[in-house]
């Protein structure tokens, strides 16, 4: 029933997603431990001090450029990839999906719109390649990544930039601009972790981005899907820890988003102050706790990304065992 909830992405896409996630987490951990140094001083020490952190940040930045250019090139020359541009274009249905999502939460709609649905079940055929959130993530991250790479390259060599602008303060302005740009992505990634890790049908991780479509079994039961109304989510049982985990994580994501937003205003760094500015303002302690909760959310995301790959690997091994067993002439059996 649920097999078609996955397998929309190619194998290259799933590997790319994993590599990009690892790289972006590394960039967040290094970049924001420097920008929010008042709150995340321990991370700088943990990662070997300022010089080490910035060296890792630059290496990860280099990898980000390589990954992004790789992806754009593949979208242009890869077989069958250009049609994905059409699939990623915003449509009026996406606005309807957003409105219906709000109505669904308020109890004024019975179902989520197909363009919003993560769990499709029996109605997989109605669900597009990307949800309205998926499209938003794609376009916002694309714009963000381009701006972050350009501004990152500009501040890579501060001597070169300061020679060009004849001012050290302008260089610090560009550093601030770079850090503030990333805040949008930082908040978006926190939400992304909640969205794909804490859906009740998929908790603790949605495998769409990990299991490629060529690893999925052929869906031979399409006729039976027509016999059912709705997605069939009522046939699934909830995990015992979902309630507590989703509430804790939802709260952590909200606190994390608000905190990094406030910290980005307090710890801005431009205009460059005349005096050494220590601390994050009057909400110092709360802000420190909040920003650290935000970093914890990222850590959970990193763990879940790794777990998704572990599950994919186990699933593929299981499929191989089934095929070997079936090739013997016997029925695939559960022999664990």
């Amino acid at each position: 029933m649920t097999s078609l909830d996955h397998g929309k992405f190619t194998r290259v896409t799933t590997y790319f997603h994993t590599l990009l996630a690892l790289d972006v987490f590394l960039l967040f951990f290094t970049g924001y431990s420097v920008m929010f140094n008042d709150e995340l001083w321990w991370m700088v020490e943990f990662m070997g001090g300022n010089a080490s952190v910035l060296a890792i940040h630059r290496l990860a930045g280099l990898a980000l450029i390589a990954l992004t250019v790789f992806w754009v090139t593949l979208m242009l020359i890869g077989p069958g990839r250009r049609k994905n541009f059409r699939a990623a274009m915003p449509s009026p249905a996406d606005t309807e999906a957003f409105i219906q999502d709000v109505q669904f939460v308020l109890g004024r709609a019975d179902e989520r719109h197909p363009n919003a649905r993560q769990f499709a079940g029996y109605e997989s055929d109605e669900v597009p390649l990307l949800s309205y959130i998926g499209k938003g993530v794609l376009w916002i991250f694309t714009v963000e990544l381009v701006l972050l790479m350009v501004s990152g390259l500009l501040i890579w060599n501060k001597v070169g930039l300061s020679e060009f602008y004849q001012s050290k303060a302008v260089v610090m302005g560009f550093v601030t601009f770079h850090g503030l740009l990333g805040v949008i992505m930082l908040m978006g990634v926190m939400f992304h972790i909640f969205e794909h890790g804490f859906h009740p049908a998929f908790y603790p991780v949605e495998l769409k981005a990990f299991v490629a479509k060529d690893a999925m079994p052929d869906h031979e039961d399409a006729d039976s899907d027509a016999d059912h109304e709705g997605t069939g989510i009522e046939r699934l049982s909830l995990r015992p820890s979902w309630g507590l985990a989703s509430n804790l994580m939802g709260g952590a994501v909200a606190i994390g988003i608000v905190s990094v937003l406030l910290a980005s205003i307090f710890d801005e760094g431009y205009p460059v102050p005349r005096e050494l500015a220590v601390g994050g303002g009057p909400a110092n302690l709360l802000l420190t706790v909040g920003v650290n909760i935000g970093v914890f959310v990222l850590l959970v995301g990193l763990v879940l990304s790794t777990y998704g790959n572990v599950l994919r690997s186990r699933y593929e091994s299981q499929r191989e065992r089934e095929e070997v067993t079936a090739a013997d002439g016997g029925e695939p059996v559960d022999d664990d």
Partner: protein
Amino acid sequence: MSSSDDAGGLSEGLAVLISGIVGIVVALAAVWYVTGLGDASTEALYRIDPTAGGGELTGVGADWTAGNTDPLLDLLVALTHAADVLMGAFVLLMLFVHWGAFRRLASRMQEPQRSPSEDGVAADGGQRTDGPQSTPSEASGGDHE
């Protein structure tokens, strides 16, 4: 790899290889270019108009004033702050909408099994059922009843 939806002449493998090479070359070239900018010659550094600030800041610190009062950069930073706040509010809205939607979806699902020891535990942490071997979504949380 999906080569069945081939619309062009390239195979998936070749396209990945070419894209990978292009990505690495562009990344290295970009970093090589920016690291080559500026030779740190003191002759070329900080030649801000020494009369910046009406003559009081002659020489030392003039570049600080000029850099701190760049209107374009000020605007850029202010705009980015505004974008952060707007997007932050939007992301929070999306979070609460999804949180609420997830709770409503969860209420339609079956109550959790309270005696997992009877069912055993699968290697991936999911619960073993009597049904056929699970698909990935089931392995990650959704068990048939």
